[in-house]
Amino acid sequence: MAARRSKAKSAAKKPAQDSSKSKAYGEFISEAEEILERLRQDLADLADQRTSANEVEPDLVNRIFRSAHSLKGLAGMFGLEGIGDLAHHMEDVLDGLRLGRISMEAPAVDLLDSAVDLFTASLADLDNPELQEQQAGHIAEMIQRIDSAVEPPAERPDELAGLPIDPALLRALTEYEEHRLRENVRRNRHVALVDSTFEIIAFEEGLSELSTAIREVGEVVSTLPSPGDAPESQIRFSLLVATEISTEQLMSRLDLCSANVRELRRASTAAELTPPAAPAPASSSGTESSVQPSAEAPEIPGTTVATPAALDAPVQRPELRSESPDIESLRSISETVRVDIRKLDELMNLVGELVIQRNAIANVASRLMSDSGTARMGAELSKTHKLLDRKLKELQAGVLDVRMVPMRQIFEKLSRVVRRLRRDHEKEVELEFKGADTELDKLIVEQLVDPLMHVVRNAFDHAIESASDRVAAGKPSEATILIQAFQRGNHVVIEVRDDGCGIDPHAVRASAEARGLVDPEDMLSHKETLDLIFSPGLSTREEVNGTSGRGVGMDVVRSNLAALGGMVDVTSSVGEGSAVTLTVPITLAIIQALIVGVGEHRFAIPLNSVLETLLVENSEIQHSEGREILNLRGDALLLVRLADEFDLDAQSDGSKQYVVVLGMGEQRVGLLVDRLQGQQDTVIKPIKGPVRQIPGIAGATELGDQGAVLVVDVSHIVSESSRRREAA
């Protein structure tokens, strides 16, 4: 279990000084956060299943139960009584749910969401005793609410009456198993007893094979060792199963498993309302007629299910299945390792250094090869270099892969926020997600959460009209916010699209003029007007009126995205809705860079922003409003001279220039450089020193023995040039 691991760790650094305490809390928090993350997703699924399917997967309830259980254990380990208590009560509710003691419709279930929120909030305040006190009050209140909201399920007829199950077997079922059996009967499924005999030495494997086969078509309600005339070296199990398929079909499926299937209940057809209360139907076709527990020792129910080989305790059923919460959670945690992202960064850095060394080797190899005296040695070295290169690429891909997390993580957070917003604002909004499996660097995901949250909140707060307004406008009363992520080359694009009121360009314009951001004389295109919402001046709510207010802090979104080397774009049409598109690179760890030369200087341009490179004649460059443009297949491409951008001396030799076409979001800019000097894998490093920010420079990279090369901040150049275009 999660808590166990922490225990070992905290025991290792026993001297409980304050510093180690806060460190231990850190461990607790990260561990708890992991569990909470899981909890949230599962609760969201639960909510879905409750509304859409009307039946909740038992495994899901169990999983949620286990999460609460782990939280409780974890909190206990760290002596955090308040939140431990809360987890305990959540666990109670969930235990009631899985045992059918509490109805799925109970209001207590709705409280679980809030309990998780409260949990998250308490985590944040762990080291603040004052806030802790406050939280303790909230927790006590929440516990009370949970307790009073627990509701027993409605009385129901006894489903098990008339089921030809041996009473001894029934008695051997745990409360949970009995509940599952009832539930399955209620759902009108086939119930059967599957007997199978295994060699003792290999029974675990055989049993799990059998269980897996059954789970494909139904549920294993219980696994019981059964007595019988099996030889000493064998052990016999009875599996109580519930399936959608008939017993005959089940038998044919289990053919390979050499199991005996005995039908206990046949699902009634639509015509029959009650299950036939017939005695045990004809037993299975198996040759080895299974000895029923009742025949053997009905008078001592406790021992009936014990096999000769079943060890010491009477009703000691082997816990082979994943039923026991502790066993399961122990297993699931041990399969994943939580790693501090900084450690991955270090690893990535090391890989980066290796890449640089590899580049250096390539250099040596080509120098050796160019000399006839050492050409053979050079060729050998070059071959070794190629092998090294291949392995290094695998290593690099492996480390990169570890950093990748699916967008689902963010989506869950968003859906929680929207659920809460919906509760508070009574707007009818459906949140739709697409591309949850799209993967992104963990570090970028972290940086993306806030901007994305901001955009979604904006859509909810300002773009979505009230239900009545929507109906009046001829739209469905329920609004939709669609969030979709997809990969485009080396970038991931996340689009937030709503069918709200759209952004009114006139209102934006008026507000911008009022702020002095735009001259009333200026002619702006529709797009340029919309882009004004990203200006810092338009960043508070009252400045753009309520119906069009998309301006809330969008400048922050833009700058956050720019810091990631990404971009944000907006399109909108009044009355129909808006779409905000965030574009970010997949990873910042190792990137392919195009090395370009200007005069005697070299720069690296992240290749993920390079669309293409062109060699153009000077005569092809046209001028428009003081800017240089290029006709690129019919479109006007704005040109920027890197030399001018950085006040460098260019030495374009004559009539030709290289154009590096940069793409960021929807924008395109052509960068004029003197030379192209090939591609390199690079690790972008921050530039340390007294000057903290260098406009236009994203960092630097090492190129083998050739010292540092500056990395161009493409998003800066692109947005700068478009700003200048607006100004022009």
Binding site: H601, I687, P690, V691, I694, G696, E702
Partner: protein
């Protein structure tokens, strides 16, 4: 000191006691009175910085020029996986610039908060242990970066307040 006054019973004790006494002196006087400084030259003039701020000293290497930087930042160098700005200390202090020579060195400094900066100096000289009483406040220096002077080997060494230099730099960015 009490240790020194106690009658020594053995040679070992005597040494221990003397050691303790010296430690006491260190605590009260010597540490305060002596500073460890790294001295270097800008042109003919000697300068010094506290040794504990020095991370490493490296030979002159290729400096990559960075656009849009203040003139006193020469550019950046790659140092074992790090890329660090190099401040031309001459220009920083308002002295005439000078071409780097074979004796030129880059001193890599670190601050309290992982901040790293490199300064280019004309030559590195020695580590000095300067008694406090030979340090005197300097007045009217360039930028206020030279806050104190000390006498060593018959000449005045300018002590540079590293934080003042770096802080000022950061402020200008």
């Amino acid at each position: 000191m009490s240790g020194a006054e106690a009658p020594p019973s053995t040679v070992g004790w005597e040494n221990l006691a003397r050691g303790a006494a010296n430690l006491g002196v260190d605590d009260e006087e010597d540490v305060e009175l002596r500073r460890e400084l790294l001295s270097f030259r800008l042109g003919e003039s000697p300068y010094a910085i506290p040794v504990e701020r020095v991370r490493e000293i490296v030979r002159m290497r290729e400096i990559t020029i960075v656009p849009r930087m203040p003139s006193w930042v020469l550019g950046v160098v790659a140092l074992r996986g790090e890329v660090v700005q190099v401040v031309d200390l001459r220009m920083r202090l308002g002295l005439a610039p000078c071409e780097p020579s074979r004796r030129s060195r880059i001193i890599v400094l670190h601050g309290d908060d992982e901040a790293v900066t490199a300064i280019l100096v004309d030559a590195v000289e020695a580590v000095l242990r300067i008694p406090e009483d030979s340090v005197s406040p300097a007045s009217g220096s360039e930028l206020g970066a030279v806050t104190e002077l000390c006498e060593h080997g018959g000449e005045f060494v300018s002590l540079i307040d590293v934080d003042r230099v770096l802080e000022f730099c950061a402020g200008r960015s």
